[in-house]
Amino acid sequence: MRAAMLRRGRAASALLAMAVAAAVATAMLNLYVDVQAKLRREFRNYGANIVLVGKDGASLPADALSRVEFVLRGRGVAAAFALVVARTSDGRPVVVAGTDFERVRQLDRYWSVNNWPSATRQALVGVRALPVVSPNNQPFSLTFQGKNIQLTSAGTVQTGAAEDSRVYLSLPDFVSWTAVQPSTIEVAAIGSTEEITAIMRAIEQAIPAAAVRPVRQILEGEARVLGKTRATLLAATALIILTAALCVVATLMGWVFDRRRDFAIMKALGASNRLLHGFFAAEAAALGAAGAVIGFVLGISIAAWIGRVNFHAAVVPRFSVLPLVLAGSMLVTLLSAILPISLLRKVQPAVILRGE
């Protein structure tokens, strides 16, 4: 009776080892598959990775932005910019840009803006441009080709780059003042290098009047960092799965060695080696499958938890991982069951039964 209890305990510990190993393997594989998508989203905060400009400095067609949106189909954000050099009331030149603030907010999240304009004739003024156009934060006027516009500053933008020297207006204000149409569209497309190349080609075909350029520094940097992170994760995954498999082998071998009496009795009662092998293999396979399924569920939750904690977004369960984990678990269990059996096979049942 006590022996049976103990044996059940050992079977349970083997199952536990199996489940933990499968859980860790599932979590790691799931993360490995998903980390690329998660990090790509982080990298989209770098802003545009594709830029469209009118060929030879010309404006883009009026429907260019909607055509870009059609190509993107939700796989990114795009914003159009129109730029001119205007004069301040005391005749100093300043670059004025017209754009859609809602889109820019999504596209360029690194912009440090204290207050986005919401009404017409409100401008977003670069921190370096502010002392030039509106030193005391009073309403100011700008002139372009003899036409005046009265503006108030809604807030300032700081980026540490060219934006700091510019004044941003909403596109309707800008166009009614200057009659200049957007000449640049910045696109932050989400996807792998191949997908982004495909998007670029599709945009090129949709808008033949535009020159489409990749922002190479962003694309190349992203590819490098992602590649290295995935490689590190792959190395970690391999190491962890190896240790987990070792844990299973150690536990299972102990379990099988423990049952050498059953083995000997069966053999003494006339069971063939093949039958015995089959019996132990079936048991191990059942254990492996059960452990893999429990571990898979556990591992998915671990991966989801890591996703929530680290990326603030759940890691999507990849059911494509399940067959891999299942096959791996059964292979490891079979291996660790067959190995001790093969060792025991050579031994006479009488020797085992005598406890030697």
């Binding site: 103990l6 400009v53 912009w111 520094q217 590190t232 970690a236 536990t251």
Partner: protein, 421 residues
């Protein structure tokens, strides 16, 4: 007697000891390698992120507005203030000089290109390519070749002391010029050493050694702005505070942390009449990406540690469970529970120490290999970690053995010896 028991156990049960020892060694190897990778990953990814370009920019304090659209500078060339080139080596004299991986000064000037009787206005950008600079006794090489690794040149990079230039890709196509051609820019005959492709505004420009741009402008030593590439720490609440309002101790902590803000502040101190600022597109996102990757590797390391602790425990439990008969014999011969347990624990400790040491060395090698093959950089493990790792190995081995040892010593020797359990 005690020592002999342990010694004989190792001598006579080589197979079992080898199995348990192998499990401990492998567990410690994985744990050590993962800890080494996790502690170093931030630095390594930080270096990779530097390939996105400079994260700090130094401009003259009293500068006029930039008037630039699509890389074409519309500001009068002599307008505004300049930095002095001779001040630049001082960048390497700042507190965080080891974190500064490179810098490149920029001086855009407008030039006229005379070709087949036509005159075109184009921008010539003066910069360092790979310039030898010395500060004190320290010598270093810096320039766009290290700060902008995505700049690709077909042909040769110009020497910094030469009169060779790079022609932007689109400009070269428009002029149908190629490497080796001679061009006349603002009356100066220059040789095109290569065609530059950047994917940015430089594709429409000429890039030349900065001395050449200074000559054309007629202002020796003038620099419009300096782009600095620095390894920084993700910013936190302290980083965003204004250094002026800080008390002494907090100021010191802020100053001695490699935040983008504090490195910018030190650059401003080093270069007279300058204003240094982070380029938010690069600096801000860097912090976010770095935090995510570090967090991920930290959690994965945790998983690796749990997995290796479990493997060690499982191996120890198995190896002790197999020796019930031995326990029974000891007890029959009069050994107390404590005596038996202490023999097992001593064995476990010895195994853990040997396995831990071998595992530490192997883990260090593994981490080194991972660093070399993935990052092309060294990942080394601090020898200080050895005692910590050994202590953890002993603790995990004890924890793994404890349940099995307790079970083994509480068995009835009669049953154990008859092999009934």
């Amino acid at each position: 007697m005690f020592a002999r028991l342990v010694y004989e156990s190792f001598r006579r049960q080589k197979r079992r000891k080898l199995l348990a020892g192998a499990a401990i060694t492998l567990g410690v190897t994985v744990a050590t390698a993962m800890i080494a990778v996790a502690t170093d990953i931030g630095d390594k990814i930080n270096r990779e992120l530097r390939t996105i370009g400079a994260n700090l920019v130094v401009t003259p304090q009293e500068d006029t507005l930039d008037v630039e659209i699509g890389g074409i500078n519309l500001k009068p060339p002599s307008d505004g203030a300049f930095l002095n080139e001779t001040d630049l080596p001082k960048i390497k004299g700042t507190f965080w000089h080891n974190n500064i991986t490179g810098f490149a000064p920029m001086l855009p000037v407008n030039v006229t290109l005379e070709r087949e009787g036509r005159e075109d206005n184009i921008t010539l950008l003066g910069t360092y390519f790979a310039k030898q600079i010395s500060f004190g006794k320290e010598k270093f090489t810096t320039g766009v070749r290290s700060t902008y690794p995505w700049w690709k040149v077909s042909g040769m990079w110009p020497e910094d002391a030469s009169r060779d230039i790079l022609l932007g890709e689109r400009l070269a196509t428009a002029l149908s010029a190629k490497a080796g051609d001679e061009l006349t820019l603002s009356g100066r005959p220059l040789r095109v050493s290569g065609i530059l492709s950047t994917g940015g505004a430089e594709d429409d420009q000429v890039v030349a050694p900065i001395a050449l741009a200074q000559q054309i402008l007629g202002k020796p030593g003038a620099v419009r702005r300096v782009y600095v590439s620095a390894l920084t720490k993700p910013e936190d609440a302290l980083a965003r505070r204004d250094p002026k309002g800080m008390s002494g101790a907090i100021y010191d902590r802020w100053y001695c942390s490699p935040y983008p803000q504090s490195i910018a502040f030190q650059l401003q101190e080093a270069i007279p009449n300058s204003h240094a600022e982070q380029i938010r597109q690069v600096a801000q996102n860097e912090g976010a990406v770095l935090t995510r990757i570090e967090g991920l590797v930290f959690l994965v390391t945790l998983a690796a540690l749990v997995a290796s602790a479990l493997a060690v425990s499982a191996a120890m439990a198995t190896s002790i469970f197999e020796r019930r008969a031995e326990v029974g014999l000891m007890k029959v011969l009069g050994a107390g529970k404590l005596g038996v347990a202490s023999v097992f624990f001593a064995e476990a400790a010895l195994l853990a120490l040997i396995g831990g040491f071998v595992g530490f060395v192997a883990g260090g090698l593994l981490a080194h290999q991972i660093g070399r093959s993935i990052f092309n950089l060294q990942i080394t493990i601090a020898p200080v970690l050895l005692p910590v790792i050994l202590a953890v190995a002993v603790m995990v081995t004890f924890a793994g053995s404890a349940v099995a040892i307790r079970k083994a010593v509480s068995l009835d020797p009669v049953h154990a010896l008859r092999g009934e359990v």
